[in-house]
């Protein structure tokens, strides 16, 4: 064994080109696989970091409201579930929000979770310092307390050990810090920096609310209780609530899903596609290296024959071949781990923030185990070709039949050809996949968003602070809006400005049910429609460049005390009044609110995502609808960044207690929305490019090897009258024969696998003919180039030299 290893080391050092190519290819293939696996491990495989995580569930309302199949819970429903269930050990509630943190350093809006004390009990979470809330401390009227995340404690308070028991300023009010959570703690699916009890912001009436479906509920099942039993229990409660509260709960069911599924559901399809991509890349690389190993072994056939003649048993040769593959594989695997570690930085944006807090990318035992398994599998795959050849060579040596050499050569050639076909097929599959994502990205980039994103500043104020300052005075609030806009529009370079409660692609929610005064002919009376409700100042549409299609936009005169008016988008007009050519003048309302008259129709905007067509929207004047319109949009004549400082100063001049917590541009928001798509396109493109390179190199290697092997034959052909063109055509046609099955197999696999990508595509079908044709063309071109270079060499064979060399 040691002798074998010494010989292998010497042989590999003597062929540095071969060694570097094999190790580098393996490092790339194993490294990318390990890196993607680390993301999958973090997101899908690693259990949630809580005791007995398999007993944790999310509880939802089953509903057809808002066009969804399920929704978060209403607070009173949660209270009934918690009180009446028999299958849960504990259940808790969470609502996402944001609080303006002041007092130490710059004012900062931090993501905040409003929680019940029972949520932390359900998760069985424990603070690293201080304590959590006791039962009852989370009710309205209790003392204002806060629990900080470790990250915020570290970043904002320098890990002050004396912080527990002291107060911090949140939304202008003092909150007592009672505890600090350990590093890595997060409510699954959330990115909170601190937690305050529900009772700090909600009164007793809110706890009885069954309309506002805005609360995430998590629970811990009792030991031994199955998900099915819990669901049966929840359904029974839901049925009772339907009976007791027919006005609000008539159509509401209840069900639970594993909490881990709630956290990872969104990323699962992308990870599946990426893992399939790197798997295909690994197989392509293995097929290529198996071919290379085989060629290397064939190049040493004299040595093999000599060893067999000297009495070597086939197992000795097999051991040698396998050891060589093992040494190369282990070197590639070790280097692959470095590639994986380096790639993790690149992959970090692939893990959503709410998931990254719970499950950061890391090189744990699972990832190391995967890398080892991938390395061992690779060793077997690349070692099998020489192993197989050893068996054949041994058989040949035993028989020594004339003619055996020819058939052995033919079969080896076929095996090599099969490996090339596999490489071509797998790389074509990857190219098609990458092509689909490239086309999707292109479609998204050129999609009509319904607004003009260039030269628009988006400045975000704290909605919480806005509420604190102006929650009780409409007149003061209107005064603030008016004065702020007057000052901002006076800044040189500012074209127009407006306030809104929802910037497209940034604030995606705020849905409400609206009923038209005159229902459409096909709809039952009283049928409501789920609508995105927006509160905006008059210049909003002009600032974002949203076209006015009919009527007028909101005016400064649409104030409190005036008849309520709204502007609706085309999607809502088409939904509510499909029979009307001009819905201006129609009326609609939310719940028992006043009827609002439609004064204008505007174009649809993509509010919820670039890949989601405009949903029904209704726009109220921020003077007529009390929703904190805390986002400021400002269109500028030049580079929008030049006005940000002045903008901050003007806002501070109006109210220094309302700082800008974030300033960006609308173009940056659009870009941020595209970022995950860009990354997945880049990654798949990278993997496809690597696979194409590997396949092209594989084809090049096989053709070059066969040209070298057949130099004598080309010499004979030339001596028998073959022109350069005839030899070129002969070699080309022979090698292009590999392409056809490769393309056929690749297209078949792609047709099957691209179905898995349907969820990642936009504007094109998984079997988009243009993508398939372009991918085939690209592979064909690369393959032709890979064939062309060595084939050219075949035409330059001098018959005299070739024949003399024999």
């Amino acid at each position: 064994m040691l002798l074998d290893l010494r010989l292998i080391a010497r042989a590999l050092l003597r062929a540095p080109g071969f060694t570097v190519v094999v190790v580098a290819t393996l490092a790339l293939a194993i490294g990318t696989n390990t890196a993607i696996f680390s993301a999958i491990n973090a997101a899908l495989l690693r259990p949630l970091p809580f005791p007995a995580p398999d007993r944790l569930v999310a509880v939802w309302e089953k509903t057809s409201l808002f066009g969804l199949h399920y929704s978060p819970a209403a607070m009173a429903n949660y209270a009934d579930w918690r009180a009446q269930n028999r299958t849960f050990q504990e259940m808790g509630l969470h609502e996402s929000g944001a609080m303006l943190l002041t007092g130490t350093g710059d004012a900062e809006e931090v993501p905040c979770g409003l929680v019940t004390a029972s949520l932390f009990l359900a998760l069985q979470a424990k603070p690293v310092a201080g304590r959590l809330w006791a039962e009852g401390e989370d009710l309205p009227g209790s003392a204002k307390t806060v629990v900080l995340s470790h990250g915020l404690w570290h970043r904002r308070f320098a890990q002050d050990p004396q912080l527990v028991g002291r107060t911090v300023q949140l939304g202008g009010e003092p909150y007592t810090v009672i505890g600090i959570m350990p590093p890595g703690f997060a409510i699954p699916g959330q990115t909170d920096a601190l937690w305050i009890p529900l009772g700090a912001l909600y009164d007793a009436d809110a706890l009885r609310n069954r309309h506002r479906h805005n609360f995430f509920v998590a629970g811990r099942l009792k030991p031994g209780v199955t998900l099915a039993q819990a669901n049966a229990d929840l359904e029974a409660i839901a049925a009772r609530l339907q009976h007791e509260y027919p006005d609000t709960n008539a159509d509401l069911g209840t069900f639970a899903t594993p909490l881990a599924e709630h956290v990872t559901g969104k990323v699962r399809p992308l990870y599946l596609v990426l893992s399939a991509a790197v798997g295909l890349l690994l197989f392509t690389a293995c097929a290529n290296l198996a071919n290379l190993m085989l060629a290397r072994f064939l190049g040493r056939s004299h040595e093999t024959a000599l060893r067999l003649a000297l009495g070597a048993a086939p197992r000795h040769l097999m051991r040698h071949a396998l050891l060589e593959a093992g040494v190369l594989g282990l070197l590639g695997g070790a280097l692959g781990l470095h590639v994986a570690l380096w790639s993790m930085e690149l992959l970090r944006p692939l893990v959503p923030a709410e998931l990254a807090m719970l499950a950061p990318l890391a090189l744990d035992w699972r990832v190391l185990g995967f890398a080892l398994a991938a390395t061992l599998a690779t060793i077997l795959l690349i070692g099998c070709a020489p192993l197989w050849q050893v068996t054949r060579a041994a058989g040949f040596a035993a028989s020594k039949q004339s003619g055996a050499r020819t058939s052995l050569g033919l079969r080896t050639g076929r095996f090599q050809a099969a490996l090339v076909v596999v490489q071509l097929a797998l790389s074509l599959t990857l190219i098609v996949g990458a092509g689909l994502l490239v086309r999707t990205f292109d479609q998204l980039r050129s999609a009509d968003l319904g607004f003009r994103s260039e030269r628009v500043v988006v400045a975000r104020l704290s909605g919480n602070a806005l509420w604190q300052h102006y929650g009780n005075s409409r007149a003061a609030r209107s005064g603030f809006y008016r004065e702020a806009l007057r000052r901002i529009e006076a800044i040189p370079g500012v074209a127009s400005a407006a306030f809104t409660n929802g910037v497209p692609l940034l604030n995606k929610g705020n849905m409400a049910q609206f009923v038209p005064e005159r229902p459409r002919s096909s709809a039952p009376a009283g049928e409501s429609v789920t609508v995105n409700r927006r509160s905006v100042s008059p210049g909003y549409f002009a600032t974002l460049g949203v076209p006015l299609l009919r009527g007028r936009t909101l005016a400064p005169t649409d104030t409190e005390g005036q008849p309520p008016v709204v502007v609706v988008n085309t999607a809502l007009a088409r939904t509510l009044w499909p029979d009307l050519e001009d819905p201006v003048g129609q009326r609609l309302r939310n719940g028992d609110g006043p009827w609002a008259t439609v004064v204008g129709i505007v174009g649809d905007m993509r509010q919820k995502g670039i890949d989601r067509a405009g949903a029904p929207e209704v726009y109220f004047s921020c003077d007529q609808l009390w929703e904190p319109a805390a986002q400021l949009v400002v269109r500028t004549a030049a580079d929008p960044r030049t006005v940000v400082a002045q903008l901050r100063r003007e806002l501070a001049a109006v109210n220094p207690g309302l700082p800008v917590v974030e300033a960006t541009t609308l173009a940056a928001i659009v870009d941020r929305e595209l970022a995950p798509r860009r990354l997945q396109t880049l990654l798949l493109g990278l993997f496809a490019g690597l696979a194409l390179l590997v396949a092209a190199l594989g084809l090049y290697g096989v053709v070059a090897y066969s040209v070298v092997q057949r130099t004598r034959e080309f010499g004979i052909r030339a001596a028998l009258g073959a022109s350069r063109g005839a030899i070129l055509a002969h070699v080309f046609s022979r090698n292009l024969r590999l392409l056809l099955p490769g393309l056929g197999l690749g297209l078949a696999i792609a047709l099957l696998l691209t179905r898995l990508m349907a969820g990642l595509l936009y504007g094109i079908a998984p079997h988009d003919p243009l993508t398939f044709a372009a991918a085939t063309g690209l592979l064909l071109l690369s393959a032709l180039l890979a064939c062309w270079l060595p084939t050219r060499r075949a035409t330059r064979v001098d018959p005299i030299v070739a024949l003399r060399a024999e």
Partner: protein, 222 residues
């Protein structure tokens, strides 16, 4: 049939030019059977490859029938070769991956002979050389003599007027060598094929009508 005047072949080596052939003047008439002899390195094979138009880097004049080869371009020379010359190698040089019949078909395929016609010619040739039974065998399944027989058949399959043979019996034992030489004599006498062979064997040279001797790249006896 062919005439060489002041023909030289020089290989530029690092150590200086190497004269493989110097000032060769040679005439070979149609129907002759010429044997080129000389010690190793005397330029026999070089001369044969020049005659066979495999080599074009020479100086001087070469007239084939009425054609001035030295004035021809590459493709015209290739056409002249395909039309008139057959070549036999010492090491047979059959193509390993092709059967006997396929090997015979190769030269025809480069002469644009239609496929059906090619197959007919191959059948005739197999019959003529009594190797019909070997048609589907691969070269490695034949003995040396049989392989050379196929080599001769391949050289003649396109009906050349000039047959060039580079030590055709060099790899064969004496009985097989005699058979090949008898075949050459028959081709020369009965079919009128002009033959030029390179040989070390006086016995084989005696099958021919004339011996040309080379030494150090120069014609020493004609």
């Amino acid at each position: 049939m062919l005439t060489l005047r002041h023909l030289s072949r020089v290989y530029p080596l690092k150590s200086g030019p190497y004269f493989a052939l110097r000032n060769i003047n040679l005439e070979i008439k149609e129907g002759e059977f010429v044997s080129i002899m000389g010690p190793s390195g005397s330029g026999k094979s070089t001369l044969l490859h020049i005659l066979g138009l495999h080599d074009s880097e020479w100086e001087g004049e070469y007239q084939f029938a009425d054609t001035d080869v030295h004035r021809l371009g590459k493709s015209a020379r290739a056409d002249l070769q395909k039309k008139n010359i057959g070549f036999i190698f010492q090491a047979y040089h059959l193509i390993d991956d092709l059967t006997v019949a396929e090997n015979l078909e190769v030269p025809l395929s480069y002469r644009n002979v239609p496929r059906k016609e090619r197959q007919a010619i191959v059948c005739d040739t197999l019959d003529r050389f009594h190797i019909v039974g070997k048609r589907d065998l691969f070269p490695s399944q034949l003995s040396g003599g049989q392989q050379q027989l196929v080599g001769v058949a391949r050289a003649l399959v396109a009906h050349p007027t000039l047959l060039l043979a580079d030590e055709p019996t060099g790899n064969l034992h004496s009985d097989q060598g005699h058979e090949i030489m008898e075949l050459f004599r028959k081709l020369n006498r009965e079919d009128g094929v002009t033959i030029v062979q390179v040989t070390h064997s006086i016995e084989n040279a005696d099958y021919g009508s004339r011996i040309v001797r080379l030494a150090d790249g120069m014609l020493v006896n004609n």
